[in-house]
Amino acid sequence: MAAVTDAKENFALFELMATAAGAEVYRAHGLAAAKDRLVTLLKLLRPGKIVACEGGLLEKLALPAAAEQIGAALFTDRLRLHAPAADLGVSEMDLGIAETGSIAQDATDVKKRLVSTLPPVHLALLRAQAIVPTFREAILKAAEKNGPPPYWTVITGPSRTADIERVLTVGVHGPYRLLIVVVGEESEI
């Protein structure tokens, strides 16, 4: 019971902090709901061209079928060529951090970075169980196996700047929108 409450609390804080950082958080109870959510979001975003990393949740959520449904071209290969002109990047993250509302991943595979940096919108998928309470835990967890991976990344909200007159403006070099779909059981989120 305690564990369930912890998961719920973790998620509640994650959602609060991620939203405060400018991300949009959506929860999906189970895979079927997540699939629906994905289609709904794609319909709203109406991307012509999608780039994505294969595997994991993406496969389970049948992204190719969803892309086809809205008539978008989906690329999962030769991303250096396709990502600069893509309207949307989709990828799964390894960890969520409740304290800061961040998402983190081992991004040693350059594809993971190409889809989350170049397109104007990044849609991130995250399993509810992967949310850890603190930044400290996340960083130590990332390095716990064989030391730090070659490239580990933490993302907190969209790309932003306040360099002109200190006015907060999003979407400088990275995405101007970050959408996070958290997939988990009802007991978790």
Partner: protein, 726 residues
């Protein structure tokens, strides 16, 4: 020397005349502290600060060992590490690499270290194009200026100016709409990201044990820069090293919270060895990761015990953001490449030393930066030390220097001169206690504030008629004998504050003793870098109070208290006999408010004559930040029945800073202006403070503006209350 001084003065004048700069910095200063406080919610600043201190102390203590470890671990993970002893060798290494690989476009993310070594200029001279990708840095690059802030390089430019700069670049007339301008930058720089063959970054932290570097950005430029080009060069100052991965955590936690009031930047990247890059043709290959480990004065700094704490700096710019002088001037004047307080120290070691000599004079000594530094660096102390090394006295106007060096240590001469001055000032005072105008070159002194006249009769002269204060009745138990250290301002300008101290001590059953051998505490001389004069004055005071046989030494001037309590033992660090005596005095010194509050407690006296009078309390910098006393005076005033109406920033400096207000009246006045505004917003009728210097400054400012508030030292309020009780 005079030329240098006037150059600095000219630069100050230009900065003050720049209204955009003033407005931008002022707005930022107002927003910074609340945003920062919010970002620290739920996180213990002091705990994190202690963790950073410990982690970085290890860096300072074991710099060679950590550097060796880093080289070994980063190399084993596939990075090339080059140890650059100075700026030139770092630039040469990067240029050679670029030439070898046929690089013609380099993109950069924000890196102070690269600015420190003037990399852009070096590469551009060799025909290699360099583009800054941080928005602020790019703006600065396009208009050929220098960054004015370590975190926000273009804070001094307006949207209209940025629109003009961008319009020139894209050859199209752009409107000054910020989101539109940001979009233009995105489009322009995206092409550079995709076309560059080399990316140059700095690093926020580097981990010796794992060979890892960390990069934090909000815009995402460091992520693109480390993802797209096939070569990544990271320039890492040696001081960025920490031993283990967990040592990096508190730094990563503190940096965004302190720098921009964020829990975390949008992007944090942890790189350990090279990764693959992909070409547009779909080929993948391992990229080249080069790490330039930069010394350029850092080893020398690590070996200097007076200054090596500054290597703990994490470049968050807190010290700039809370500095009242930086808020007026910005980094173009107050800084070279590294700006503000910490910038002054770093410039001395990483730069030529010449610039730092000018910069140190700008420090007001209010110590606010020290309070907010997440690495616990005592910046004001180091600036003072720098001043001593540069014989800062050289920068003083000659008259002032002779006065401090020759006249003040000669007590009799000093006091005769003051007595004479109190007679000749009459034409300016017209018999009034405040001087509103001075002629000619002294005019600056009365700009923005009135000056108090020297008292007709100094405290020490008036005590001549009241023997009991001078010696105390014979046969009194020693613990009741309380020495009174007046200090120059109380003695010669505000004897009424001194009288109030003496009266209240008597009321509380003490026998005040005023040793006539006491002189100036020496603080002004020490802070002007005149070490010998400070030591001589300290000797005179130590002797005067040792002979007086007292168990406490009370002073109504926090600056004197700091001098007696903190500086004297340091002044005699190498002289054991005097050190002992200095410590004995230091142990006895108590500030007025703390002493009285304690005595009131013991006697259970409950005077309540202020009957809810609304007062506002101004914290003197030395009392609050050097002595940690701010609850006591408030407790005392409340015990007396006063209702305290707090102003917005009661501990923001009033701009006095002793001789600072004489040296830089143009800076002191606008700082005072802010204080007056803070005070006026409280609707209190009385301003209370524990420092005669603050009384001078604030009452002068209020008088100049014809504001009918009274400014009182705590001692005067206590004396009034006790009288009314009688």
């Amino acid at each position: 020397m005079a030329d240098k001084q006037s150059e600095l003065k000219q630069a100050i004048k230009r900065a003050l005349a720049n209204k955009n700069l003033g407005k931008a910095l002022g707005r930022f200063a107002d927003a910074y502290l609340p945003a920062r406080a919010k970002a620290w919610q739920g996180k213990d600043f002091f705990l994190v600060r202690e963790e950073i201190r410990r982690a970085k102390q290890k860096t300072v203590d074991c710099l060679e060992e950590l550097a060796e470890k880093f080289v070994a671990s980063a190399t084993s993970r596939g990075a090339h590490v080059f140890q650059a002893k100075d700026a030139l060798s770092a630039c040469q290494y990067i240029l050679n690499l670029a030439r070898d690989k046929g690089v013609d476009l380099v993109i950069k993310s924000k890196s102070m270290a690269s600015e420190e070594i003037h990399l852009n200029k070096y590469l551009e001279k060799a025909g290699i194009a360099v583009t800054e990708t941080d928005l602020g840095e790019w703006i600065i690059q396009l208009c050929g200026q220098r960054p004015s802030h370590m975190v926000m390089p273009a804070i001094h430019l307006t949207r209209q100016e940025v629109a003009e700069i961008f319009s020139r670049e894209v050859k199209e007339s752009l409107e000054s709409d910020i989101p539109r301008l940001v979009k233009v930058a995105r489009e322009q720089l995206r092409q550079k990201f995709l076309g560059a063959q080399m990316g140059v970054s700095g690093a926020n932290v580097a981990v010796a044990e794992t060979g890892t570097i960390f990069l934090m950005t909000n815009e995402g430029n460091a992520r693109l820069l480390t993802t797209l080009p096939p070569i990544h060069v990271a320039i890492v100052g040696l001081e960025k090293l920490v031993e283990r991965l967990p040592d990096a955590v508190p730094i990563l936690e503190a940096l965004p919270r302190c720098a921009t009031g964020q829990q975390l930047t949008s992007y944090l990247t942890m790189i350990t060895g090279p990764t693959k890059v992909e070409t547009p043709e779909g080929e993948t290959r391992l990229k080249e990761l080069h790490i330039v480990l930069l010394d350029n004065g850092r080893r020398k700094l690590a070996a200097d015990p007076e200054f090596n704490d500054s290597l703990r700096c994490i470049r968050c710019a807190s010290c700039l953001n809370v500095c009242p002088v930086f808020q007026l001037l910005g980094g173009h004047v107050f800084g070279h490449i590294y700006t503000g307080g910490i910038g002054t120290i770093l410039t001395a070691f990483f730069g030529s030393g010449q610039e730092a000599e000018d910069l140190q004079a700008l420090c007001l000594g209010c110590q606010r930066c020290k309070e907010y530094c997440p690495a616990g660096i005592d910046i004001p102390q180091m600036i003072l030390e720098l001043r001593k090394r540069y014989h800062g006295g050289r920068l003083l106007p000659p008259g002032q220097r002779i006065f401090m060096e020759k006249v003040m240590p000669n007590r009799k001469l000093f006091h005769i001169l003051l007595k004479t001055a109190s007679r000749v000032q009459k034409p300016f005072t017209g018999g009034q206690p405040l001087i509103r105008h001075l002629p000619l070159y002294l005019k600056g002194l009365t700009e923005g504030r009135s000056l108090p006249a020297l008292a007709q009769k100094s405290l020490r002269d008036s005590l001549g008629d009241a023997e009991e204060f001078c010696a105390g009745p014979a046969g009194q138990p020693v613990h009741h004998r309380v020495g009174f250290f007046a200090g120059c301002l109380v003695d010669f300008v505000y004897p009424e504050i001194g009288r109030a101290v003496l009266e209240t001590l008597v009321y509380l059953g003490c026998t005040p003793v005023f040793p006539p051998g006491q002189n100036c505490c020496g603080f002004p001389a020490e802070h002007a870098g005149l070490q010998e004069a400070a030591v001589e004055l300290a000797r005179q005071n130590i002797k005067a109070f040792a002979d007086a046989n007292v168990s406490f030494v009370v002073t109504a001037c926090p600056t004197c208290a700091v001098s007696l309590k903190k500086s004297y033992p340091k002044l005699f660090a190498d002289d054991l006999a005097w050190l002992q005596k200095a410590r004995e005095l230091a142990d006895k010194v108590v500030d007025y408010a703390s002493f009285i509050l304690r005595r009131l407690g013991e006697k259970d006296a409950q005077p309540a004559c202020l009957s809810g009078e609304p007062v506002t309390y101004h914290d003197s910098c030395h009392l609050k930040r050097s002595l940690g006393v701010f609850r006591e005076p408030r407790g005392l005033l409340q015990k007396l029945g006063a209702e305290i109406k707090e102003m917005t920033w009661p501990d923001r400096c009033c701009g006095f800073g002793g001789s600072y207000s004489i040296q830089f009246p143009e800076l002191s006045t606008p700082i005072l202006e802010q204080k007056i505004n803070d005070i006026m917003s409280t609707e209190a009728k009385t301003v209370v403070t524990d420092c005669p210097g603050c009384v001078l400054q604030i009452s002068g400012g209020l008088d100049y503006r014809n504001m009918p508030l009274r400014v009182k030292h705590t001692a005067q309020i206590v004396a009034e209350s006790l009288k009314c009780k009688k």
